[in-house]
């Protein structure tokens, strides 16, 4: 393949870029172009003004609209209103009139075109540096017609990566619990949607209350717990086939499940006569191992991306705090010492940070800290916030939020920098989000 396969190793068969040398991206980097980038680390000082012209061809304006929404919600870009465009006759194969775009202070411009070739939708686009007057990126994607939104997400990820230097996160999905009914007779169904709230579908019928669903790293399976009158059980559902399988665990209460990074085991907590401890079970061999043995509550375990460490919630020290240990249960250490009650620790995709929930002064908070518990930083606070989950690139955290007493839970996002707090485009009541890796 070409240089493009090096740049985008994850591009799938489904979206196999028939993209050819046709648009040799990066061919000529000018000095001016080197200045055109966005910092995602320090809460961006200034969003980059970018214009995305409607693509020509099938789904053209919808694709451009989805790209605009993605980039706008990232908080890193100031997406120009198409009504302000001076040049309306853009063509993917012709250099734009840069001077026109500079009048509206647009720094980056995206022009695209779609067409149907052999029954498949093919979309090509170019990203232009308006001030450098040069092409920064040119790519083409192909897929089935009904999958056009994924092309929009792939385009968004490519632009994000080119301009920020970071891997994108737009072509990903979120599993969550869709809630309905009153507060005292809550219906909780397993649901999955695109990260931008599109294409929602339900995987359970609401007979049981679904809690804390999470993807495996491969994105093909979801593990969750389901509460019924007589107990709570862990299930694994395969997304493609829809097949559900209960994980056999002794006792009638097993919950707080997550896949291990290799997808081969689940780590969870289970009740033994009122004592809740952390366990790990291999889905391949069925082997069950107990990792904590303490009369206190030990729950919400999560294994680090490299498989070497586990963080979990425990009240063994008298108050609820976050602890760490080696993957075999040895080397126990307490990670949080501050005021308040700490719980639901979750590793970042790179394994460098841990997101958590804290209760303090009658409020709930979402925060992040280094893997050793240092450099604690609070990102969001409300009457209730809990259940943080990381975007695949580790730049955004999604969580459940109830703004005030009696409010329905909804899904919100905040940048790890602490900026860009906003409600997810999913408008209905929702809780317990679990973000997938970027799709293959």
């Amino acid at each position: 393949m070409t240089a493009l396969s090096l740049l985008f190793p994850a591009l799938s068969r489904a979206l196999r870029p028939t993209l050819l040398a046709l648009l040799m991206a990066f061919a000529w980097l000018t000095p001016a172009l080197a200045q055109l980038n966005v910092s995602v680390t320090e809460g961006h000082r200034r969003p980059m003004p970018i214009a995305i012209a409607d693509f020509s061809g099938p789904h053209g304006s919808s694709i451009a609209g989805a790209v605009r929404d993605n980039l706008s919600r990232s908080g890193l870009f100031q997406v120009q209103n198409p009504d302000s465009f001076l040049q309306r006759d853009v063509d993917v194969n012709v250099a734009p009139r840069f001077a026109d775009w500079r009048i509206t202070k647009t720094e980056a411009l995206v022009v695209g075109r779609g067409g149907v070739v052999s029954g498949r939708l093919r979309v090509e686009f170019r990203l232009w540096d308006v001030y450098g007057e040069s092409q920064m990126l040119g790519l083409e994607f192909a897929t089935t017609d009904e999958n056009w939104r994924r092309i929009a997400h792939k385009v968004s990820d490519a632009i994000y990566r080119r301009l920020t230097g970071e891997v994108g996160y737009f072509d990903s999905r979120v599993v969550f619990v869709a809630e309905s009914g009153g507060r005292t007779n809550r219906v909780k169904r397993l649901a999955v949607m695109d990260q931008d709230g599109a294409n929602p579908s339900y995987l359970t019928d609401g007979t049981e209350q679904v809690l804390n669903p999470r993807f495996n790293a491969q994105g093909q399976q979801i593990v969750y717990s389901a509460l019924s009158d007589r107990g709570i059980k862990i299930w694994v559902v395969d997304i493609e086939s829809g097949r559900k399988e209960a994980v056999a665990i002794p006792g009638n209460m097993a919950f707080a499940p997550r896949f291990t990074p290799d997808g081969q085991s689940i780590i969870f907590s289970a009740d033994r006569d009122g004592d809740v401890d952390v366990f790990i079970k291999s889905l391949r061999t069925g082997k069950l191992s107990q990792l904590t043995r303490n009369p206190a509550i030990d729950t919400s375990p999560d294994m680090s991306p490299d498989g070497s460490q586990i963080v979990f919630t425990s009240d063994r020290g008298g108050s609820t705090q976050i602890y760490g240990m080696n993957a075999d249960g040895s080397g126990l250490r307490r990670l949080t010492f501050g005021e308040g009650r700490y719980s639901t620790a979750v590793w970042s995709p790179k394994g460098d940070l841990i997101a958590f929930t804290r209760q303090l002064g009658g409020q709930f908070q979402i925060g992040v800290m280094a893997a050793d518990g240092s450099n604690l930083k609070i990102l969001a606070e409300a009457y209730l916030v809990e259940g943080p989950t990381w975007s695949p690139n580790g730049r955004v955290i999604m969580f459940q939020r109830e703004g005030g007493p009696g409010q329905s839970p909804s899904l919100w996002t905040v940048d790890v920098s602490g900026t860009n707090l906003r409600k997810s485009p999913w408008s209905g009541p929702g809780s317990d989000p679990g973000w997938s890796a970027t799709l293959p």
Binding site: V192, T204, E208, D229, R230, I232, M253, G274, E386
Partner: protein
Amino acid sequence: MTFTQSQTPASGLKVRSLALMLVSSLALVACASTKTATPPIAETSTPVAIANSEAAPTIAQEAPKTSAPVASAPLPAVTVSGTTINAEAARVQESLSPYASLAEAGERIFFPTDRFDLTDEARSILTRQAAWIKANPGKRVLIAGNCDERGTREYNLALGARRASAARDFLAGLGVDTDRVETVSYGKERPIDERPSAEGWAVNRNAQTMLLD
């Protein structure tokens, strides 16, 4: 991409939730009398005259909180022939309970914030439950631990398990066979009081004992 939706298997189990009690009923159970506690009713198949109010387990220190007395009307005398079969004996024992039902004994006990130890009031209600359970040998119960919404979901599932277990262990200490007691936690998923206030949270921090069919 489409998803096939397959049905989550129904549990096939039925829990008979006895008359959902509201807060006010908490006070109701703490009445009866202030006499010293009597031992649980002995299981016997000999003819018994009556289970009267003296046989009721009582609350040690607590004064009656409401004027509504527990309805523990004297039962008619029962005579049993010497050849009573087991089922007959069970029926007789059932009639020995000072409470007509588990609900009358008191279904729910309540807990302070983030605690699972039993208050005096909780102990007295559990003592009454124990009397009913022991007087109804054919019955099994499910104790469900519940929490208020001021904790994280997974932690609350664990806390509810502790509350249910604390109740079960107390019943066991009174001689209830633990094979007849199941426990479960509903965490913060099944509140009974909608109020997002200290009063509502207090009601939702409980362990409920339900009759299993």
